[in-house]
Structure formats: structure tokens, C-alpha cells
Amino acid sequence: MWLIPILPLLGAALNGLWGKRLPLRGIAAIAVGAVACSFLLALIACLSLGDATRMEVYFPWIAGADFQVDFNLYLDPLSAVMSLIVTGVGLLIHIYSIGYMSGEKGVHRFFAYMNLFLFFMLTLVLAGNYLLLLVGWEGVGLCSYLLIGYYFRREDAADAGKKAFIVTRLGDLGFLIGLILLYTTFGSLDYLVIFPEAAQFPVDSDGSGTLTLIGLLLLAGAVGKSAQIPLYVWLPDAMLGPTPVSALIHAATMVTAGVYIIARSSPIYVQAPEALMVVAVIGCITALYAATIGILQTDIKRILAYSTISQLGYMVMACGVGAFGAAVFHLMTHAFFKALLFLGAGSVIHAMGGEQDIRKMGGLRKKIPVTFWTFLFASLALIGAFPFAGFFSKDEILWRTFTSSTGGGRLLWVLALLTAGLTAVYIGRLVFLTFFGESRADPEVASHIHESPKVMTIPLIVLAVLSLIGGWIGWPRFLGGSNHFERWLEPALAAPAAAHAAGEESLEFLLMGLSLAVAALGVYIAYYLFLKRREAADRLAQASGGIYRLLLNKYYVDEIYRFLFVKPLVMGSTEVLWKTLDVGAIDGAVNLAARTTRSLGNALRKIQSGNIRSYAGWVVLGALLLIGFMVTAAS
């Protein structure tokens, strides 16, 4: 099993060290070959797993009297699903990148980073304890940072890379403290030690106990990695990286690490209902919030980025209502269709010669048919149209939210339903503006529009098929299926003590119809506004000027941050505000933090005057302080 993560590492090493001298073909063969082998191995491992779980211990990592951590990998249905998604989708994206990246400089570097990323991601997923998980966790962050800044000649790309790293590190800090707390509580970081013990803990009903605190701290890490409110700001900027990177890291795999960690820690969360509540609320608000912003964005990749944030919110919310299985299910289908959307977008951008503004597209349906059809499949899956993959997973989440025993389940359901409608609107708008109607591109560009090469379209087609049938393994019971998927996952996940109220099938049917109707309505609105009567959209924009501008400017979040945090800084009230408000999480505040520490550092640096006598003075001063302290303490 250890071969699964090691193979991509080998690929990365080969390409990193000698890739410069290899032709593109060789580089691609190494990179894709490594991922393909590890996909096959993962497949074999999963098929041979059955209902069991497997813990492979390689050697003791830290062995102490009171503390032991092994180097171990853990395979259970959850990590099996995750590793299949990571290697499978990763493989397709690698193949796609061969076409997409051809002609770029430093391709070996690109593939080396991609392989390295897969190594860390697989380590994260397969780790048998939290410490090894942390290795993967830090590693994927680093790779994401390197890949966002891949176009290092572009200043904004390098900045975006930095922003991603700093913002997610804030979450990581919470995560790290959570791990320390886990260790002090359970005396171990091993899953197989912690989870049974956590189940013995009394349910932390008033939210004052250690488990709640651990849950919240782990959530902080998840919020950073999975781009939830308030740490979501890095993800849209991360879109400056190459498109396959956005597909792999910022849609299909890395950003789902936060959801994974919550699902993985489900035995802890079920004992801490208050923490779960927070999880659900954060997820739900993020889902709705990001969807509203997505409606008016014009950059094709940024729309998808906000869509990703929104869908991640869905998954987090599902975790929050205790439907961990549904969350993982949606994670999987989302990996298929969102990767496809990004790759399709990449194909569109490729065809348009680098244009990313959907206002300058249109009528592409005929010119790039494969991209169009696959993109359409993915969009339908995202909307949740029957029988596409997204339908099953999304409906499952909505149903579980509706029947959730925790308070406020109904309210969450309403908001989630609203999000589903908005999702239909923004993706409908994207599809209509891009592929239908008249072409609004420059004639110059329009004449060059061409379908992408086969090496790019085949992954698209495979993903499109997966977006269609990928959800069928979770065919719900009331439609005559048996929901294999979640039953298989069951042993890996804990369920909240208070089981979900068993809903009636007719009610479930009704709700399903309702969500389909909402989605259809959303698509129709998009159709009406952005294709049929484009002037209607403008009129609407005028009529609802305030809201329109609010959405267009992403709720002025950047401006609010600037006003709230940066301006007072300029006016000089730095310290107090910084320390009293927990703004460390937020965009403008990152700058503020940097500036505050900078000015502080500057002041400290001034001590270093370069003059020997003043240095001697500092020594004497320090000595006097010490003497004063020691003599008073001693007598």
C-alpha cells in the first residue's frame, strides 16, 4: 500500500531532477505513468478491501514511554474512496495537462509539482494518524502555493500564491493547536486509539468540553483548506494558476481535504453536537453567500471558483447535520463534475486564445462541440438534474438536512434550496453566455477558435461519463436503489447518537420534486435574462441597482476589509484594533498583520545601531535588569 503515495513522489523526483533534459513525451510518460500505476494499486487495494479496514504499520516514528506514533497507513472505505478520487481524477487531469501545457516553458517543473502534490495528498488521505496527516496537510498547501505561483513572471500570480499560503496557514494554526489538544486528551494521535476512546466520552451537550474545542479547532483548519467563510478569500485569487491546477487542487482534491478531515474525525464530532452545529451553519452560509457572488462574475474561472466554494459549503453543511456519508458522496460527484467544468473551461480558454471573460464569448456551441457537450453534462450534474451524478448527492444532502434532528434543520434546508436555485442561475448564465447566442468575440480571435486536441478531449469525455453515472452507486432507496455507497462507507463514519427522524418516502419524493423544480426555475431565469431577453437583465440590474452593485462587487468585502482594517491602520490606531478583533482570518487583515509586524520589526531593528558602545550599553542595561530581578527574588 505504501507504493500508492510513493510512486508519484518518484515521478516528481525524476522529473524534478532530470526533467530538464527530457523531451515533453518522456516527462509526460513519467508523470502520467506514476499516477496511473498508483491509481491501479489504489484500485486493487480497494477491491481487495471488502468491508474490512486495514492498518499497515511500517516502523515506529516516535517511540516514547508516554507517546508513540508509528509510520502507518490506514485504508478504510473513506480513505479508499478518497484515494480513488485523488488518483483517478488526478490521472485524467495529468493526461489533459499534456495537451494544455504543451508549448509552455518548464513543463517538467509543472509535472514535478503536480506529482509531488499527489504524493502529499495521498499521504494526507491514507495516513493512519493525525501527525502523518499533518505532513500531507502541510505538503499540499506548499504545492498549491508553488503551483498557483507557477507563472512566476506575473506579479499577481506570485501574490496570489502568497495569499493562499498565508490565509490557509491561519487555519492551520488552529488545526495544529487542535492536534496538540487531541494528544493531551487522548495521549495518542492514532486514529485507532482516538476514535474508540472518543466514543467513550460523554456527549458534550453544553459545548463546554474538550471535544467541542477540538472539533472547533479542527474546523478552523478545514475552513482554511476548504475555503469556507471567513477564510475563503484565497480561492478566487488562486485561479491565476494554470487551469489544470485549478481543476486538480482547487476543485477536486485539495480543497476537499477540509471536508475529509471533518468526516474522518466524525467520531469526535458526534460527541460534540455544538461543534457540529457551528460546522453546519458555516457550511450553509458559505454555500449561499458564494452562490450569490457567483451570479455576477464575468471571469469564467472565477465563477467556477465561487461555485466550488459554494459546493464545499454544501459538503461542510452535510457534515454539520451529521450526514457524513452524504458529504463524502457529494465530494466524489463534485470531484467529477467540477474537475470537468474546470477542464472544460480550460478548453474554452485554450480555444479562445487565453480569453477568460464570458462577456466576450458566445456561440461556441458549434465550434467546439465536444467541449460544449461535456460542459453541459457537468453543468447538469452541478444543478442536480436527474439522473446526473449531482442529483443523487445533492438530494441526499437536502433530505438529510431537512430531517436533521438538530434544531434549525428546516431553516438550513430552505437556505440550501435557495442555493440550489442560485446555482442553476449562475451556471445557466455561464453556459448560455459562453456557448449560445451570437459570438461577441473579436473577429480576430473568433477565426482561430478550434477544438482542443484529443489528449485534452478524452479526459473530458471520461469525466462526462462519470458525471452522468457516478451518482448511480448511491441510488436512493425510495427510487428502488439500495444506496450501496453510503452503506459501504458506514463502518468508517460515525453517526450522531440521535438518529435522523425517519422521513416518509412520499415526503422525500415531494422534496426531491421541489428541488428539481427550483433548479429548473433557476435555469429558466438564466435563460430568460441572459439569452432570450438580454435587455431584461440590464433592466433588472437598473431596477435593483443597489443589490446588483453589491453582488457585482462581491459584497464589497475587499472594500469593507480595507475600510475596517487598513484605513484605521493608516490613521495610526494599529495595535489595539489588531489585537481586540480577531481579524487574523481575513484578507485585508493579512496585509495589516504584515504591516504591523513590519513596523514593529523596523522599530526593533533600530536598536541595532551598529555602534559598539551602544551595544555595550544594552548589555549593561540587560545585566542590570537581571541583577535587579535576581537580587529582589533572592532576598
Binding site: Q608, S609, G610, N611, I612, R613, A616, V620
Partner: protein, 102 residues
């Protein structure tokens, strides 16, 4: 005349120590600073010898001899460094030696 007690020596040595420290802080010529540091070493020696006689123990005096040796070596190295610096910068003024700062 009252007898000379260890406390007297202690005060003498402290006075010498303070003079040395003040010398380091106020003088600009690096050679004088070096000499001031030597003064502190001698303050230490007075202490060591005084305590040695108080406890009737030989180790304090031995230590004092070692300190004298080390101080001599230090003076040699220090003067060598000062000469090297003087060749480069043509100055022994401590306030003019601040190429590196911040």
C-alpha cells in the same frame, strides 16, 4: 586600624568593576575600551584572591592565575584585531566603526 575583612575587598573589587564598565561605555578609543575590560578582569582577580584567603582554599588563587593568563591572551588577540581594523579603516574610534547595522 580595623582589620581588613572580605567585605572590604568586595567593595574594592566592585568599585574597580564599575570603573571598568563605565570606561567601556564612555570611552571612544577602542584601546581604552580594551583596557577597561582588563580592569574588570582585575576586579575579578581581587575577588578570587580575597575569597581564596577567606576560605583558606587554594582554588581561588589558581583561578586568578588562569584569569591572568587568559587576559594576556585576550589582550594579544585584541590588539591584533585592532591593528587589522586600523589597516582597513585608519581609525580606532569606536563611534566610526559602524559599517553594519539594522
Amino acid at each position: 586600624m580595623p582589620p581588613v575583612t572580605p567585605v572590604h575587598y568586595l567593595f574594592l573589587s566592585m568599585a574597580l568593576f564599575t570603573i571598568g564598565v563605565i570606561g567601556v561605555l564612555t570611552r571612544r578609543n577602542v584601546i581604552i575600551i580594551l583596557i577597561s575590560i582588563e580592569l574588570i578582569f582585575n576586579a575579578v582577580n581581587i575577588n578570587l584572591v580575597a575569597f581564596s584567603s577567606q576560605f583558606a582554599s587554594i582554588s581561588g588563587q589558581t583561578f586568578a592565575i588562569f584569569v591572568i593568563v587568559a587576559a594576556a591572551a585576550e589582550a594579544a588577540v585584541g590588539l591584533g584585531i585592532i591593528i587589522a581594523l586600523f589597516r582597513n579603516k585608519e581609525t580606532v574610534n569606536a563611534d566610526e566603526i559602524d559599517l553594519m547595522k539594522w
